[in-house]
Amino acid sequence: MKIETDKLCKQFTRHVNDVNDRNGRKNSHKEDFFAVDHVSMHADSGEILGVLGPNGAGKTTLLRMLGTLMHPSEGSVYIRDDEGNTVTDPVVLKKNIGYLSGNTKLYNRFSIREMLSMLAEIYGMDKDATDKRIEEIIDILSMKDFADNRIGALSTGQTQRANIARCLIHSPKVYIFDEPTLGLDLLSSEAIVNFMKSEREHGRTVLYSTHYMEEAQYLCDRINMLYKGRIIADGTPEELMKQTGTSNLRETFRALINRTEGGNE
């Protein structure tokens, strides 16, 4: 299953304070700008697509629109199944997407098991399938010891595993991860990286954004470089390095941005 976007845009309004006019009055005016500017992209099954870019490039906004948490100002997001049929209905999209970001916190007053069965009910899964799936997930993420503890009492690493469990419950075909390893220690981020790799082996689509270039270089099959709301480069890490004549992704990143800035001026 592929996830694609077509000329996707998100417009925001910002207030700009004017310089004082002759009467000495302070005024402000509104100004529209594109946080995501006509982005057409695609992520295919069995592939990990990295979305890289500096702060404020529009990564989070783009991923939020892909996860249908945010409505696009223009353009559309859709998934395409293996027969080539496309779906744009947000509810259907959400049923097929597992979305994880630093902002998706869990309900502290529930245990992992309670949370999972609550989610399964909302996803419309039947009782037997739910129970089976929950045991499966607890097994995969080895959470047996703390599956019945309240989430508020778990450690950071355990919470992160619970968060992954949340994305897994409805067996989605597409994963969208917004900086999933941000602020985690080596072991916890390794667990997440391994999880993404294993999902790729199962033919799932993984979209992921990060600031850790080494991680992206090692993990991603393909990279989309986002800058000022536009995609300025698309290719495998090797292709991008070759294009810019650099030896690692960190330098590639810098070179690509410099090239764009230079081109603009």
């Binding site: 009055r25 302070k26 939020r64 996860g67 948490l69 945010m70 409505h71 947000p90 509810v91 259907v92 959400k94 049923k95 997407i97 597992g98 979305y99 970001s101 902002n103 998706t104 916190k105 869990l106 309900y107 502290n108 007053r109 529930f110 309670e114 609550m118 989610l119 009910e121 909302i122 996803y123 419309g124 949340r166």
Partner: protein, 679 residues
């Protein structure tokens, strides 16, 4: 909407709320522990005061002119009936009675003097001391008894019939209301307030928890990843909060009811003659129960509506403070004797529930009004839920930092100069003004007549300007303070005159469909015999200034900053019509308000609309005051039985004047702008 999803979400919300210790504390511990403690505490306090004050002795000094010892003996002989003892203390050497009173060694002293052969006793005491006050009261009673005895003796000496002279007629009060009615009256007095407060308290906390709390804990974004639409989400939250509010209200009621019964029982209040037939309250209790549910829906919807804008607990608490104040004031409606449940008051939120509960406990059942109250509450709640679904999909609210729309909550020194009020400010100000209109307006008008109307208008003006001053608005911009040229003035007057003529025609149409709209006898009655200048002052000049400042100033200025000019103008106009609180007002004054707002918006000048508003009201005053002369002089303005040709001419001239006026206004504006740009 998928019922399964809503029920899953509802279960989740309820579990989440109930697992929060703070909610449990507010919901269960407070009513179940605090009320009994309060009741028992005050009961114990009361009974200890009662037992302490029986069989107590008081020290007094007594000086009679000729028979001090005889007086003391009289006091001693009669004190048994009062359950008190008097101890007499003679002044010590070199000490005056007043010194002893000051020193606290006596509770009161009595000095007799004689003027014109008439003995006169002065009882000196200190009202600030409990014992002194009681002692003085005792002495007063004792002297009263002494006086009565002397009087009886005097009558007997003269051989007169004391009873016939002192009480030539007898009378007494006899209360024919039943015990149930008395209790109902008392219940109607306090119950609405207690219920409204406990329901609001029950709703507020979970409302904050499920909205701002969810944002603060970061679970909102998680929730948005689920295949759930806004309607399902809001519905689940709304019903969960309502459930908790109903539960809290019932817990509160039970706790209060049990405690009252317990206290009443232990104080032996339930003697045979005070017996109350509780069954007679069953209909009232049943309706109250429905009221609780309906009002819980309303309170939940309102609290959710405001909490949804907040990004944190603290902000939510700030946002809900005005709601709390409005609910508290509205809850007291049941205690205002002049406020009755009518078809009009049945539409006012909060107040209507308070009045309904008060009236059913007085055994007044008016089914149509009960239906209006219940239906309007459900309708308001539904409206609020729809607004919330809209708001909830707004990404400003979901992802933006904050919707800080209530500036008045901030400290004045923190507010920057040159503000334009937020939507919250606008809603809050007009809620205050509406409450003022409903509660104070009628009182002012009935007490002070036309001056009351002027006072009311001035009060609104002061509140509006104060609010604006407090949040440091840009006065010139918000209130559209700007000079105007002669062309703009003519344009405004033409626009007004045009719409006036068109509205005359429309109103004669409306009279056909809604006959009650033509009734303006109430205001004419209020004018009475007052001089014309006072009528003009109160009904034309004061509204022209005050209402323009409120609507074309504060409201229009705020809305212009937020919405497009067209939207701002139309909303201001319609609300201006609604403010006049009649069907007639909503349509005709609403249209007039739109034209007024248009003038103010295009010219950015409030003085123009003040002038047209004044002319408009002046014409209304004169035409009502001199109805006959008016109908004779300008028959086409009466609007009755007009020939088709006159209607056509009026419609045409109205449209012509309106378009001429609008043309002038816009033309003038353009010229002004271009001259400004080039200069």
């Amino acid at each position: 909407m998928n019922k399964k999803i809503v029920s899953a979400l509802y279960k989740k919300e309820i579990t989440d709320i109930l697992r929060d210790k703070k909610t449990i504390l507010m919901m269960i511990v407070v009513p179940l522990i605090l009320y009994p403690l309060l009741f028992l505490g005050s009961f114990v306090l009361f009974s200890s005061i009662v037992s302490a004050s029986t069989s107590k002795s008081y020290t007094i000094a007594l000086n009679s002119v000729n028979d001090t010892e005889g007086m003391k003996q009289y006091f001693k002989d009669n004190e048994k009936e009062f359950k008190y003892t008097f101890i007499f203390k003679d002044p010590e050497e070199g000490m005056k009675d007043s010194d002893m009173l000051d020193a606290g060694s006596i509770d009161a002293y009595v000095v007799e003097s004689v003027s014109d052969n008439h003995p006169y006793f002065e009882i000196a005491y200190r009202a600030s001391e409990n014992d002194s006050q009681t002692a003085a009261g005792m002495v007063e009673k004792m002297l009263g008894r002494y006086r009565d005895e002397l009087r009886s003796e005097a009558f007997a000496d003269q051989g007169l019939d004391e009873k016939m002279i002192m009480n030539p007629i007898g009378f007494c009060l006899k209360d024919y209301s039943s015990n149930e009615e008395n209790v109902g009256f008392l219940m109607g007095y306090i119950l609405p307030f207690l219920l409204i407060v406990s329901i609001l308290m029950g709703a507020l906390y979970p409302a904050i928890d499920t909205t701002a709390g969810e944002k603060e804990r970061g679970t909102l974004e998680t929730l948005l990843t689920l295949p759930v639409n806004n309607m399902e989400l809001i519905t689940a939250k709304f019903f969960a909060v309502s459930t908790i509010a109903v539960a809290a209200a019932i817990l509160n009621l039970l706790s209060m009811g049990l405690m009252t019964a317990f206290v009443a029982d232990s104080m032996n209040m339930v003697s045979s003659e005070m017996k109350i037939d509780l069954a007679s309250f069953l209909p009232a209790i049943a309706i109250t129960f429905v009221c609780i549910i309906v009002f819980a829906l309303f309170a939940s919807a309102v609290s959710l509506c405001s909490c949804i804008m907040a990004k944190s607990f603290k902000e939510a608490q700030n946002l809900t403070t005005p709601i709390m104040l409005i609910f508290l004031i509205g809850g007291m409606a049941g205690m205002i004797p002049s406020l009755e449940l009518t078809e009009k008051t049945a539409l006012i939120p909060v107040v209507n529930i308070a009045l309904l509960i008060a009236s059913i406990f007085k055994f007044h059942f008016d089914l149509s009004i009960i239906a209006i109250v219940l239906f309007s509450n459900v309708a308001y709640s539904a409206l609020a839920v729809v607004i919330m679904t809209r708001m909830f999909s707004s990404e400003d609210i979901l992802f933006a930092d904050s919707a800080a729309s209530f500036r008045i909550i901030e400290k004045r020194s923190d507010i920057k100069k040159g503000q334009i009020p937020g939507m919250g400010d606008l809603v809050l100000l007009f809620a205050i003004l509406l409450l003022g209109l409903l509660f104070l307006g009628s009182i002012f008008a009935s007490k002070f007549g036309l001056w009351g109307i002027i006072m009311e208008q001035l009060m609104f003006l002061v509140i509006t300007v104060f609010y604006a001053w407090y949040i440091k608005v840009d006065f010139r911009k918000l209130f559209h303070i700007r000079g105007f040229g002669i062309k703009a003035l003519i344009g405004s007057i033409f626009s007004w005159a045009g719409i006036y003529v068109i509205l005359m025609l429309l109103s004669s149409l409306l009279v056909v469909f809604f006959p009650e709209t033509a009734d303006n006898s109430a205001i004419v009655e209020l004018w009475g015999d007052n001089p014309l200048w006072l009528i003009i002052l109160s009904s034309a000049l004061a509204p022209a200034i005050c209402e323009e400042v409120m609507f074309r100033g504060f409201m229009l200025g705020t809305l212009e900053n937020r919405y497009s000019a067209a939207k701002a103008v139309i909303i201001t106009g319609i609300l201006f019509g609604a403010y006049h609180m009649s069907l007639n007002g909503l349509i005709l004054i609403g249209i007039l308000g739109i034209v007024q707002s248009y003038i103010a918006n295009r010219q950015q000048c409030i003085f123009l609309t003040m002038i047209t508003h004044f002319i408009n009201n002046l014409l209304a005053v004169l035409s009502a005051r001199y109805e006959e002369a008016f109908t004779k002089a300008l028959p086409f303005l009466s609007g009755e039985d007009l020939p088709a040709s006159t209607v056509a001419v009026m419609a045409l001239s109205g449209v012509a004047m309106l378009s001429l006026g609008v043309g002038l206004i816009n033309n003038n504006k353009n010229r002004r702008q271009s001259s400004r740009e080039s200069g």
